[in-house]
Structure formats: C-alpha cells, structure tokens
C-alpha cells in the first residue's frame, strides 16, 4: 500500500528525514516510535502534503508516487492524517465541515453525495459506537475543545471518512485512559485486511491497546531498528538509547 524509498525532507535548511525507507503492506499496522526531533511528525506531514518542506525521494501509495500530488487529492485517494494538534477553525460548524469533507471524497470516487439526513444518521451511529458525545459536532470545529475532545474528533472523522491509510500523529499524547480507549477502539474497529495504519507515538501505552504488526524506531531521520510489538516494551524499559546502542 505504502512504499517509501530514500525519502529526505528538510525545512529551513535543516535535514530531518534522511534517506528514509518504509514499506507498509495492505492490512498492516506499523508503529513508529522515536525521541523528540527524530522526524516522526515530519514524516506524517510530508505524506499528507504539508507545504514548506524540501523533499527528495519517492513515496508510492497504491503504486503511485504521491509526493507531488495536491493535498486534497491525497485525502481523496484515501490517506488520512489524525493531527497531533488539530487546528481550531472559528465559525466553522464541525458537522458541516465533515459533511463537506465526506461528500468531496465521495464525489472524487464517483459516489453519490449523501444528504444531511443520511449524514446525521451516519454520524449518530459512529459517534455512539465510539462513545463520543454527539454534541461536540454541533460546535465550531475544534474551538474550545479539550485536548481529549480534539483527538476524539480526529478519530471520529477517520471513522466516517474510512480511509485506506490512517496516519496517527501522536494522537495518544496527553490523553487520559478513557480517551486513549476511544482512540484505540476507533483504530481497532477500522482495522481490516484492506486498511493500513501508521501510528506515530512516544509511548508504548497506546500499543497495548492497538497491537501493531511492526514497531520501528526512528532516530535522527532514519529507522534504526524494526521489531515486533515487543520492541515497544523494550523501549519503555531501556529507553531509545539502550535499545539502539545494543544493535
């Protein structure tokens, strides 16, 4: 599904990703862990198309190099980024935004747009499943949301948009146990053989709820170690330095 080869990214003259390589097959869940400044968020940003990076290398999504594909087309093709810091957008109603988003994506696939009634039914069903209070959806997009509400909203969006690849950028940071469960339930319920995930995290905690197929350790713009989900526990115990110096 995703094949990244020799990806380098720099911003303001600072090299962040250095010849980065990663393959994610359809249906797999990969976790990337790494210390601050190792390039985790840059990877998420570059894959979703954020401007401002100088990029070299290739990233194939379903066989097509997407690095020059416009942001919205990547989303329409099925890449979803759950933001580390979801943006507050005053005056924009969350439901209206989400309906526009869903219909734009449906339209790009040649599907019929869904009307408000159908949409609200869908939202009701999904938010109930995730135990997310529906009322946050009638509020302005992320405005005045608590940290937990923002992250839950990201997961709800992912659940409704049903992407092929979900990238979670430190979605677990700053969450209490209950919110963490909402996030992991969201991912687990979407997890199937046709969908892949790239989960970026600092802590092994989230990976207790979402068992990844692979865990990668990212240090200084490169994957230095790859292992099974047990690697996360080793990292928790020995720290990045302990694990990477032992290689």
């Amino acid at each position: 599904m995703l094949d990244i080869s020799n990806l380098s990214a720099s911003i303001e003259g600072k090299n962040i990703l250095k010849n980065f390589n990663l393959k994610i097959k359809t249906g797999e869940v990969h976790a990337i862990m790494g210390p601050n400044g190792s390039g985790k968020s840059t990877l998420a940003n570059v894959l979703s198309g954020k401007k401002g990076y100088k990029i070299e290398g290739k990233a194939f999504f379903e066989g097509e190099d997407i690095l020059n594909t416009p942001i919205e087309e990547r989303a329409q093709k099925g890449i979803f980024l759950a933001f580390q810091y979801p943006t507050e957008i005053p005056g924009v109603n969350t439901n209206n935004f989400l309906k526009t988003s869903l219909n734009t994506i449906r339209k790009s696939k040649g599907l019929k747009e869904i009307d408000t009634l159908e949409f609200l039914k869908l939202v009701k069903e999904k938010s109930k499943k995730l135990k997310i209070e529906e009322k946050i959806l009638s509020r302005q997009l992320n405005v005045g949301f608590s940290g937990g509400e923002k992250k839950k909203n990201e997961i709800l969006q992912m659940t409704i948009l049903e992407p092929k690849l979900g990238i979670l950028d430190e979605t677990d940071s700053g969450l209490d146990i209950d919110a963490l469960r909402v996030v992991s339930d969201g991912v687990n319920s979407l997890r199937n053989k046709n969908r892949s995930f790239l989960i970026i995290t600092h802590y092994q905690r989230l990976l207790d709820y979402i068992k990844p197929d692979f865990v990668h350790v990212l240090v200084d713009g490169n994957i230095v170690k790859t292992g099974s989900s047990n690697l996360a526990h080793e990292l928790e115990k020995d720290g990045y330095e302990g694990v990477t110096s032992a290689k």
Partner: protein, 427 residues
C-alpha cells in the same frame, strides 16, 4: 456639482424657522464643503475626493411625484411590518401585525409643515461641525417619525425599505429618521437598502433615536446586494435607564458606505451593542465609525466587527469608547478582526479609549491578517480543495458575528443574504 440651494428654498418654502435653519446650515456646509482627509473623523475616507471622482454633476433630488414601488423587492417568507421609503420619500406603511393605536408614524415632509410637529424636532437641527449633517439639515424634505407608546412590544419586526429607482441617478438624497421608543417598549427594526438600477447616487440619512427606560431597540442594517450607491448614515442614540440598543450591520453591497453610530448611555444600566461584518470586493469602500459615550455609571457596551477585503477594496473601523468621570463601573469591550486577502485591498483600524473614571473595565483589540495556512492545510487534508477551504474559513470567520444575533428569524434572514452574497465572491 450643482447644489442649488436658492432653487430648493423656493420650491420647499415652509415654516420660517425651518427656512432659517436651512439657510444657516447651508452656509455652514458651503464653508466646510464635503469632508476631507484633513478632518480626523474622515482620516480614512476622503469623501470630497470620492464624490469628485464619481459624480460630475451631483444634484439635489426634486420632490417625489412617483409613489409606486416595485413590490418584488419586498422580503418574502418573513412575517413583518413595513414602511417604504422610495428615493428617500415616505410612501407607504403597513403595520398589519400590530396594534396601530400604539404606534404613531408620520411622514417628515408633513411634520416639517406643521408648527407643532416641527417644534418637537427642531432641536435636532442644531448640530456640530459635521458638514454632512449640515447638508442634510439644509436639504431635508422627507423621512419618517416613529413614536412607540409606553409598554408596547412589537409582535413582528418592522422593515424600513429604502428603495431607489432610476430617478435618483446622480442625485443626492437628504432625509431623516426619528424613532422614539416609549418606556418598556420594544422593536426589532430592519433597515433594508435596495437599489433597482445599478446607478450612482448619494444617500445621506440622519437618524435620531430615543430609547426610554426599560425599552429595547434591536436594529439590523442590511446592505447586502451589489449596487453603485454611495451612502452616509449618521445615527445618534440617546439611551435611558436599563435600555438596550443593538445594531447589527451587514455591510456588503454598495460602492460606498460610511456608517457613524454615536450612542450616548445617559442613565444607569443602559447598554449598547454594535456588531457588524464587511465583505468587500472590487473598489468598494466601507467605513464603520462608532462613538460609545458612557455618561453614567453601570452601563455596558460592546462592539465586534469582522471584515474581509478582496481586490482593491478598502474597509475601515474607527471605534471610540468614551468614559465620563462619573461613569464608574463601566463595562466596555471592542474587537475588530480583518482578513486582507489581496495585494490591492486594505483595512484601517483605529480603536480609541478615552477614560476619565477609575473603576472601569474596558478592553479593545484589533487584528489584521491573512487566512491561517494551518487551517487551510487541515481542511485540505480532509479532501477539500483550496477554494473550498478558503471559502469555509472566510464564511466561518464572518459567520461568528452573525451568530451573535439573538432574534432567530432575523438571524436566518441575515444568514441567507450573507450566503447569497458570499457564493458570488471569488475567494
């Protein structure tokens, strides 16, 4: 330009005191002329220039003969009372939702001919150094006077339709609107502007409102459809104890608008709220100026103004909060936010606080910027195109002010007119 005062005097010969006041006011206007940048109040709007660039032969409008208006401009699916002013002249009222014994509506033209009626308003003809008001005094010959009885609460909103047809081309209209709300009364007023043809004219209206104890006036000034009109409105409000004045301003359509609102909070617990939005394109030039004068203790005021500027348009907000030394416990708030979205457009903001009391809570803020790139990225990462994202952000930005409207039916009306307009804007 040909403002022939002698000719006007001859055809509008009336009460001697009125004639004298007119002569005096015309002299004042002749001395000062149209306002220029040199006057502090007109720092960002050089009206003399604007007039000479757009009107080669501006003339005083003659007396109205026509009294038929195009009823297609009446707002549908919205229950309301109406007053129709065609080219500045009062031609019709319909208060079918109200107890008409409680509401006294007169044409100003009639009032100006009656000694008794004129005595009640003549004090409003003494004025400051504003030459636009002097011009208005000199040439006014119509408008309306609305008196609402004590304790009368309107059932439905009242729309004042300010309609203009081709007669007004290259003309300047000077009229006045007087509103007095009796104690404990309330009125939702929609001041609606619509020009039938895309022609240039100047509309100069002076409003004087008296809001007595415990009464509420909510006014919605709606200039929503694109036209080539030039508008100056001066509104003076006297607010008495425990009264509320609200003014929402939808400043979208005409080539030129300058709205001046001077609200005097004269007794305790009176309050004044002015909120507005501007969405300007082409060469539009709109200005809002508010002067909120806290002249008594325990009064409250607030202004929220949001503006979006495109193409070569220009927007200005000058907001002053004055707090007299006796006006302790004043609560004053003001915020202006603008998005300047093109090289050629601009926004001027001049917030002013002048405070002589020591126990007050006053704040003001003003920001001017562009659309936040992170917001665009967020929306686009959900599949929206850049145009869709821009539009959603701008609409949301302005919508926040519409959300402050407390009357649901009017909020819907304003939102519809706003959406109709923004859908035609190339964002």
């Amino acid at each position: 330009m040909n403002l022939n005062f002698e000719k006007f005097q001859k055809t509008n010969l009336g009460l001697k005191k009125l004639n004298d006041l007119r002569s005096l006011s015309f002299k004042k206007f002749e001395t000062l002329g149209f306002p220029t940048r040199r006057q502090e109040n007109w720092k960002y709007t050089d009206l003399k220039n604007i007039i000479s660039n757009n009107f080669s032969d501006l003339q005083i409008i003659e007396n109205q003969k026509e009294s038929k208006f195009n009823s297609k401009f009446l707002i549908k699916n919205f229950e309301h009372n109406r007053i129709v002013l065609l080219n500045g002249h009062f031609i019709e009222k319909n208060l079918s939702f109200e107890d008409q014994k409680k509401i006294n509506i007169k044409s100003l033209n009639t009032a100006l001919k009656s000694e008794k009626d004129f005595d009640e308003i003549k004090n409003y003809f003494n004025d400051d150094d504003n030459s636009m008001i002097s011009l208005n005094h000199a040439f006014v010959n119509d408008g309306i006077i609305i008196d609402v009885d004590d304790k009368y609460l309107f059932n439905k909103p009242l729309i004042i339709y300010n309609l203009f047809d081709k007669v007004v081309e290259n003309k300047i209209i000077n009229n006045k609107v007087f509103i007095s709300l009796g104690k404990g009364s309330s009125l939702n007023l929609v001041d609606f502007y619509k020009s039938e043809h895309n022609i240039k004219f100047f509309n100069n209206t002076v409003h004087n409102y008296t809001i007595k104890k415990n009464s509420i006036l909510k006014k919605f000034s709606i200039n929503s459809s694109i036209d080539s009109s030039y508008n100056y409105n001066s509104t003076k409000i006297k607010s008495y104890s425990n009264s509320i004045f609200e003014n929402f301003i939808l400043s979208l359509g005409p080539n030129f608008i300058k709205n001046e609102i001077h609200c005097n909070l004269l007794e305790k617990f009176s309050s004044c709220f002015v909120n507005g939005i501007m969405l300007l394109t082409g060469n539009q030039h709109h200005e809002l100026k508010t002067n909120i004068n806290h002249k008594f203790e325990n009064c409250k005021s607030s202004q929220l103004v949001k503006s979006v500027l495109l193409d070569n348009s220009n927007g200005t907000y000058q907001g002053k909060i004055y707090v007299d030394k006796c006006a302790q416990k004043t609560n004053g708030y003001q915020l202006s936010k603008a998005l300047v979205l093109s090289e050629g457009s601009g926004f001027n903001s001049k917030p002013e606080l002048e405070i002589y009391a020591d126990d007050v809570k006053c704040s003001h803020g003003s920001t001017t910027g562009n659309i936040d790139e992170n917001s665009i990225f967020y929306l686009m990462s959900r599949g929206l195109t850049k145009d869709q994202a821009n539009k959603m952000i701008v609409e949301g930005f302005l919508n926040e002010v519409i959300e402050t409207i407390t009357e649901p039916s009017i909020k819907r009306l304003v939102a519809e007119l706003f959406i109709e307009r923004i859908n035609k804007v190339n964002l």
